[in-house]
Symmetry: C2
Subunit: 353 residues, 2 copies
Amino acid sequence: MFNKSTFLDSIWHKNIGHTPIWLMRQAGRYLPEYREVRNKAGSFLKLCKNPDLATEVTMQPLHRFDLDAAILFSDILVVPEAMGMKLDFIENEGPKFDTQISTTKDIDNLNIEEINHKLEYVFQTIKNLKATLPSNIPLIGFSGSPFTLLCYMLEGGASKNYLTVKHWLYTKPELTHKLLTKITIAVVDYLNGQIKSGVNAIMLFDSWGGILTDDLYTKFSLNYMNDIISRLQLEYNGHVIPSIIFTKGGGIWLDKIDTIGADVIGLDWTINIKDARKIIRSTALQGNLDPVLLASGNINAIKNEAKRILDNYRQINNSISGHIFNLGHGILPMTNPDHVKFLIDFVHEYSSN
Amino acid sequence: MFNKSTFLDSIWHKNIGHTPIWLMRQAGRYLPEYREVRNKAGSFLKLCKNPDLATEVTMQPLHRFDLDAAILFSDILVVPEAMGMKLDFIENEGPKFDTQISTTKDIDNLNIEEINHKLEYVFQTIKNLKATLPSNIPLIGFSGSPFTLLCYMLEGGASKNYLTVKHWLYTKPELTHKLLTKITIAVVDYLNGQIKSGVNAIMLFDSWGGILTDDLYTKFSLNYMNDIISRLQLEYNGHVIPSIIFTKGGGIWLDKIDTIGADVIGLDWTINIKDARKIIRSTALQGNLDPVLLASGNINAIKNEAKRILDNYRQINNSISGHIFNLGHGILPMTNPDHVKFLIDFVHEYSSN
C-alpha cells in the first residue's frame, strides 16, 4: 500500500532514516493560500463541506513543505453539527452553536442515525485525497474526543472556566454519561466511515480533558476514548490503522492514558519527552514543540528547541523510531511559513545524523 | 506565639484534630460585604493601598467562616506598580499596565531601591491584622513568583498565548534573566518586609509557570523561586516562618519543585493528591479542590469531592497531618458563600473522625 512511510514506520518502531514530522492544523490560517481558498468558500464551515476545496487546502502545506503525513482538513465540530446543532464560526471568536444542550429532551433530539449520511462530504474529501496524495504520504483522519465535543455542546462554544460542563459532570453524572454515550456512538461510526474511505491513521483530539480532576478525566474522557479505540475497525485492506490519542494537559496522566491501547500518544509541550518515555515504555510518542515558539521565536531558537526534543528522545530511547515530531498544540495563525519550513527541514536533517 | 494553630501544626507534621482549610482569594468578590468595601474604596488598587479597608476585607471571611488561616488582602501586581509601572484594574477585564517592559532601558528604569518604602501600606495592613487576628489564626503573606510578575510586565496584562513572554524567553534569555533578577531582589525585600511586619507564613503564587516547557520552567521560574526561598529571613521572634510555593499546572514537575526546599507545595485540582504524595514524600501539601466545583456544584457534589480528596490523602499518608485543604486556584466571583461555609465545616468535621 505504501511506498515506505516514515510516519507509519516510526509508529511501528521500524528502522527509519529520519524522524517524521507533521503539524497539528498544518492546513490553516498561517498560509496565505489557505486564507484565499477560505475566502472563496465564503465561510469556514462551507470550506469543510466542499470536498474539492477541502482537498485543496489539505494539500497546500504538502506543496510547500516536506511533511511526512497529511491530515484531513475538517473541524471536530462537524460531528455535533451533523447531529443537528446549528454551527457558526465567528471571525476571531471561534465556534458558536445557536443553542446549547440543556435537557434530556435536547439529548434525545440529537440525531445520530444519519451521521455518516450527513458527513458524506468528509468521506468524499478523503477519497479525493487518497487519489491525490503520493504513495508515501499517509492521510490522518480524526475526531474530537467525546468529552471535548461535550464541552462545546454544553457551553455552546469555547469557555473560560467550563462552569456549565463541570456543573453537569458534578451534579448530573447520569445525564452526562447518556450524552457522552450518544456522542461516542456517533464518533465510532464517523471514524469507521473515515477508515472505510481510506484514511491511514486516526487521531482523537481531547483538547479539554486537561481541565478535569484525575477522577473525572478517567470517568468522563479517558473511558470514552478507550471505548472508541476498542470499537474501531482498525484494519483495512489488510493494513492496521494506527490510533493516536492526545489530551492537552494530560502529562500527569500518561500512565493511565497508555492503558487504553492507542498506538501513539500525543504530548503537549509542557512535559519533557524524556520523562514521557520513562512512563510510556514503548507506545510511540507524538509532539512536543511549543507552538508559541514557532509563532514568536526566531530560527535559532526554533533550532535549539527542536534539537533539545530530539536529543532528549534519542538519549532515552536509543533510536529515533517511535517518535513523530509535532507541535504540542495547533499551529498559531501568526506563524511565519518560512519558520515552518525551517523546522521541518531541520528535524529531518538533524535526526538523520 | 500561637495558641495552637492547626494550619502551622499541619505544615510541621504535628498531631492535629482536623485538616486545616483556607481558600485562595477567600477575601474577594464572591462576598457581598467585600463588594461594598471595594465600592467605597473607589477602585481595587485604592482598596489594596488603604490599610484600614484592606484589614477589613481580610477579616471578612473570618467573621463568616471557621477558617484556619487568614491571607493578607493585596494583589501580586503591587510589586511592579511599586517599581514604577502604572497599573489599572479594569472591571471584568483584569489588570492592565499603561505600558509594557520592552527594552533594556525599561528594565533599568524600574526602581527597586524604594520598594519597601512604596509598599509601606502593605506592612501597615499586616501590623493592623496582627493586632486584630485571634492568636490561633496565622496570617499568610504572599508575592507573585518572579516569572508570573514578568508575564504581566512583558504583556502589559493578562494574555492568551503569552507570545511576547515566550519571545523573550526563547530569543532574549539574557535580558529576561536581567529582568527576573531585578524582580527577584524586589520580591525578596518585599517578603522580608512582610515577615518583619508579622506574617506567619509566606506564599509564592506562580500562576503562569505551567505555560512553559519543562526546561524553561526550571530556568525561568523554579530557579528564581529557589533563590527567593534561600534568601528569605524565615525566622522571626524565634519562630520559623514556613514557605508555600504553588505553580498552577505544575503537577508534572512536582519532583523538581520539591527540591527547592519550600515547606508546603500547592497543588491545583488536576493531580490526584495521592499521586502527589507518592512523588513528594514528606513536604506538606496544599489543595486541591476544583474552584469551578465550588462555583457550579451543589452541596452534595462538594461533599463528595472534598471527601474524595481527604480519603485519598489519608489512604497514602496514614495521618491527616501534612495537608492543608484549599482550592486548586482562586475562588471564583460567582461562588455562593453558603457553599463555602458548607465546605469549610465539612472538611473540619469529616477529617476529625
